[in-house]
Amino acid sequence: MSDRMLTMAEAVREAMSIAFDERPEVFLLGEDVGIYGGAFGVSGDMYHRYGAERVLDTPIAELGIVGAAVGAALSGMRPIVEIQFSDFTAQAMDQIANQAAKIHFMLGGALHVPMVLRTPQGSGTGAAAQHSQNLEPWFASVPGLKVVVPSNPADAKGLLLAAIDDPNPVIFLEHKLLYKIPGRDPVPEGSTRIPLGVSKVVREGKDLTIVATGIMVNKSWEVAEKLAAEGISITLIDPRTISPLDMNPVFESVEKTGRLLVVQEGPAQAGFINEVIAQLAGSSSFGSLIAPIKRLAGMNIPIPYAPQLEKAAVPQLDDIEAAAREIVNNWR
């Protein structure tokens, strides 16, 4: 295996290290990010390489952690805040939504909050209800926040570098299950940014368009590979940045395929992916549809603890495959 097949954790660490090297005002703070190396091993040896002034271990106090980051950002620093589980952002929501997101506007543009908040989300590790949520819609619905959801290590590196560059607050949602595995592609060397707000067409097809976020991109890719062998060709689009959302590739693709399947991990009701459906339904590409739009999402329940139930609560490979087949075969 090439040594550039980094895991998500390694890719994120590499991006942070590059940012640290490029700019002295970039620093990392969060619970267990320093000496321990991060709850999921993301910061790793950065504490030893950069020291306690750049990698800060904090108390267990999310509201204070994010508040400190907002203050640092307003003072000219570029903090990277790691919140140990995305579920805990609830503790810090006033600082995220009411302070970080709004200060720039409320001060008439006089100051910026160049903060990146990184946090692991998603289910599949048996961490149960309060440690497994997908909260994409919470952040995507707050004007003033950008929200990035990388699906693979190569994207994660370039997107994080761009997020750190961004003069405004960016929420960077990583998936726990992806930390320890490499992606399909090697992680590029160097410090190339991937621009925020640009969707990626991961593969092209002519029978069906799938739009998915996070880990569902990877599951959808596997399904697309399998169905390609049977003559069903699928276009897979990964928005990467969910706010602001780049819908242009989706419009173009639906005009070719006429069928749209959207897949997200979080619960269907009020989920982020509904934004894709709403924009498509109101667009001129609507007239190209030859099938109803199909949505696959999590069940409307807190993530269960029992492993079989945890799996059953979110879309799996079989669900995506069945949905794809059904749309293509029943709607000609």
Binding site: L289, I290, R332
Partner: protein
Amino acid sequence: MSMTMETGELINFHVAVGDQVKSGDVLFEVMTDKIDMEVEAPADGVIEALVANPGDVVEIGKPVLIMLTETEVMAFDFGSDNEPVAAVEVVAVPAPVAPVIAEAPVVAAPVILNETVKAVPKARVEAANRGIDLRTVRATGPDRTITMQDVNGAQLDPAIAKRQAANKALIAKGIEMTRGIAQASFTRSVNANFDHAQFIAAWAKVLRNRPDLAAHQHVGVALIIESKYGSALPVFRDPDQSSIADLTALVAATTDAAKNGKVPIAMLSGATTTVFDLTSYSMSSATPLLFPNQVTSVTIGYESATTKIVSLTIDLNFCDFYDGALLLDALVASL
């Protein structure tokens, strides 16, 4: 009837205007240079007009009688049970290619199938563009929703859809009847340019030497012509015996007519072989269908910009394997 005959005398009509006739009923008698001949109706229908008078000397190819038929199908009648050996030919009209006035199909009023319409968005756009009333389109999608397939299958003219369906049914019947036939196929690559007229003339010339492979005493080459109405199979009788200029004009005129749904009924019977041209579909070959009562069938397929593939299928009951190979060799050599 001899090939040099140019006129015939109309003796009398056996039908009157308004009569309903069935396929095979005698319509009128013509005095030829050999015998008095009875001319039979080629299809079911009703007599619309008599356009000549008893006692008239009529030129070959001129209409004598006009009938309207409801026959929607422009393909073979598979009902005849001639065997390929020693059948007596029956000529239905006084000239090889007398253009009977094209049929006027009975057009049914469009039926409202859906009181309320559910249709996928693109189907609505398509229907609006093509002037299709979605209430008349049969919905086969889930929840009785009209799909693109439903709209694409819907035609402005229901008679066309009816004809296509009848065509499909007839060809399916033909396929069923040919399933039991022992067949062999041969393929050759041909580096030559030829048009349909040249091809069918060349093939007819090859078959001229094998009267035992035909159910009729003439060589009748059916040429499949696709149109939006379905598949037409007009039969060119003895194409090797016309001048190539005449044949080319006839093929062109017949092709045009077929594409407009108007193959002369006289040309719908008497085939002893069939030619399929697959090159417009960019297909290289198919195992040609043997129609009942035919012993040979040929396809022309696309191989490259300069070469074509010619495939021959034979009915092994009537033509042995070796002969089949020789037939194809002879055809290819003459192209």
